[in-house]
C-alpha cells in the first residue's frame, strides 16, 4: 500500500535505526521501504529482521534520490538498511560544491 508524502515528513525504518525526511516527492502514492520492510511515521517499539539483500546501510546527512530526481530524501539518522521506493533502490545524490558563504 502506497502513500503520498509531503516535504518535512519523517519516516523511520522498522528494521534498523534509519530515519529519513522527505525533501521532495511527487504527488503520487509511493511505497518506501528500508532493509526490505515498509518505513513508518514514528519510531517502532521493536525492530524486525532486516532483509540481508537490502542491508547496504544509510548515512546521516546524505541525500537520497531516484534516477530522474523526481524525489529526494535526507537521511536524518543512519542505519543498516537500504532505502527503496516502489521496489527500486535509491542512491546517494552527489554533493554539490558551493563555497562557504557565512
Amino acid at each position: 500500500m502506497g502513500q503520498i508524502f509531503k516535504p518535512g515528513t519523517k519516516l523511520s525504518s522498522t528494521v534498523c535505526k534509519t530515519q529519513i525526511m522527505v525533501l521532495r516527492a511527487p504527488a503520487t502514492e509511493l511505497k518506501v521501504t528500508c532493509g526490505g520492510a515498509p518505513m513508518q511515521i514514528g519510531d517502532p517499539d521493536t525492530l524486525g529482521e532486516i532483509d540481508s539483500a537490502a542491508a547496504g546501510g544509510t548515512f546521516v546527512g546524505k541525500r537520497y534520490t531516484d534516477q530522474d530526481e523526481s524525489m529526494e530524501f535526507l537521511c536524518t539518522r543512519g542505519g543498516d538498511g537500504t532505502i527503496a521506493v516502489d521496489g527500486y533502490t535509491i542512491d546517494v545524490k552527489a554533493a554539490k560544491k558551493l563555497p562557504s558563504s557565512d
Partner: protein, 483 residues
Amino acid sequence: MNIHLILQMAADAMGHREAFVSGSCRGTFSDLADMAKSVAGQVKDGERVGFLNENTPLMPAALFGAALAGTQFVPLNYRLAEGPLNSLLGRTAPALLLTERELGIEGIRPITMLQAGSGDISEMDAPDIDGAIAVELFTSGTTGEPKSAVLKHDNLMAYIFGTVEFMSAEEDEANLIAVPPYHIAAIAGVLSSIYAGRKMVQLPNFTADGWIKLAHAEKVTNAFVVPTMLQRIIDHAGDSLDLPFLRNIAYGGGKMPRQTIEAAMRVLPHVNFTNAYGLTETSATICMLGPDDHRAAYESDDPAIKRRLVSAGQPIPSIELEVRKEDGTVCDAEEVGLVWVRGDQVSGEYKGMGSQLDPDGWFPTKDRGFLDGGGYLFIDGRADDVIVRGGENISPGEIEDVVRAHPAVKDVAAVAVPDVEWGEAVGLAIVCTDDISDDDICALVKSELRSSRLPSLITRMDELPYNETGKLLRRVIRDRLAN
C-alpha cells in the same frame, strides 16, 4: 520542518566534536544540544525567546531552544537606546528574555545566561508545524520604524539544504563569528556551521586587533566579515598578515569597495574570498561571487571580467533571479532595474504586514542592479537611495566609484540634496587623507560621467556614519547636507 533537526543531527553524528569557543568557554555539539534543551525547558506557553546580549554560546542555544519549544527566537540590538529598545521589547512580549540587564517591562521575563544554560535537561521532541516561524528579526530601521522580518523553519532549512552539505567540514575547521546576534549573517553562520560540523569561534566585540589575535589563537579557517571590518583588518595589518590557517573569508552585508577587496587579496594571497549577497528577508545568501571568480577578475586585463570583482556574483542554484523594469518587464543584460528573487528560502514577509511576494512567489528586494552578459549581478544600491534630478535617475554608486578612485579619498557617499531648480541634486560627503578642492572633485566626476552627476554640494567628514554592522547611514548624511 524544524531547524532543531540541524542541531539534533550534529549532536547524534558528531556529538564529541568541539562546537563553540567563546573566551574561556568551550563545548561540544552534545553540550550545545543540552544547553538548547535547558533553554527550551524554561519557556512558558505562548512566550517567545528573546536575546539581548552580545554573542555568547547561549545565542545558538537560545535559537535552537526556541525551536525545540515550538516558539520564535527574537534577537534584539543591544546597542539601541532605551526608548527604541523598550518599544521593540514591547512588540516581542510575552517573552523569556536572555539578558544580563535588569528590566521591568510587562510580559518580558528576564533570565541571565547562567540561568538559561543551567536548567533541567529533559528529552523533548521538536514540533513540526506547517508554516511555523523560527526567527523574527527586526530590520535596522534606517528609513523608519524597524520592521519585524519573519523567517519560517522551512525558509531557513531550504537555505541550509541548498548551500551546505552535512558534516562537510574537517575536524580542524573553525568559523570566526564577529557579526552580532541580531544580524541575519549571525543566524545563517550558526546554522551552517553546525550543519557542516564546523566549530564556531565567537568574537563578542569586533576590533581589528581582537579579530586577528583570535583568528591566530584559535587557528581559524573560515570567517564572515562585513566590508568595514575587512577594511579595518587591512588598515591594522599593513602590508602583511600572518594567518596561515585562514582559508576562506566570506563577506557581505554592504557594498565592498574595490580598493578594500583588492588590498585584502594582496595581503592574504592564500585565502579564498567569497562575496555573499543576500537580505534578511531572503534567509541570507542568494548570490555568490566565489574564489575562482575573485582570482579571475583580479588577474584579468579584460574590463568586463575585471569589474566582476565588485559584482554580487551569480544566483545560487536554488534561487531564481530577475532584473525587471518599473513596468515589470525583464531587463536586458547591462540594463539597470529592480532585483526580484524567488526560492524556498525567500520569506519576504513582515509581521503585521503580511507577505510581500507577488502571486507567482517573486520577492522585490528593492535593490537596484543589472546583470552582465555572463549572468553576474551588479548591485547599484537601494531603490530608495536613487537621486532623482529633473526626472533623471542617478545611482549614488556610479558617482561614488569615480570619486573613490582618487588617491586622497578614503571614503565617499553620494546622496540626494534638495534643489530648487531640479527637485534633487547630488550631494557628496567625502573623507580625505589630503586636501582636495571642490573643483578637483568636480573635474574628476566630469571627466568620467555626464554633467548631471556633478555634485552641487560637497562636505568633508572625519568619517562616514555606519551602523555597527557596516551599513552606511545615508539618512544621517542627507540630514547633514540639507542643513
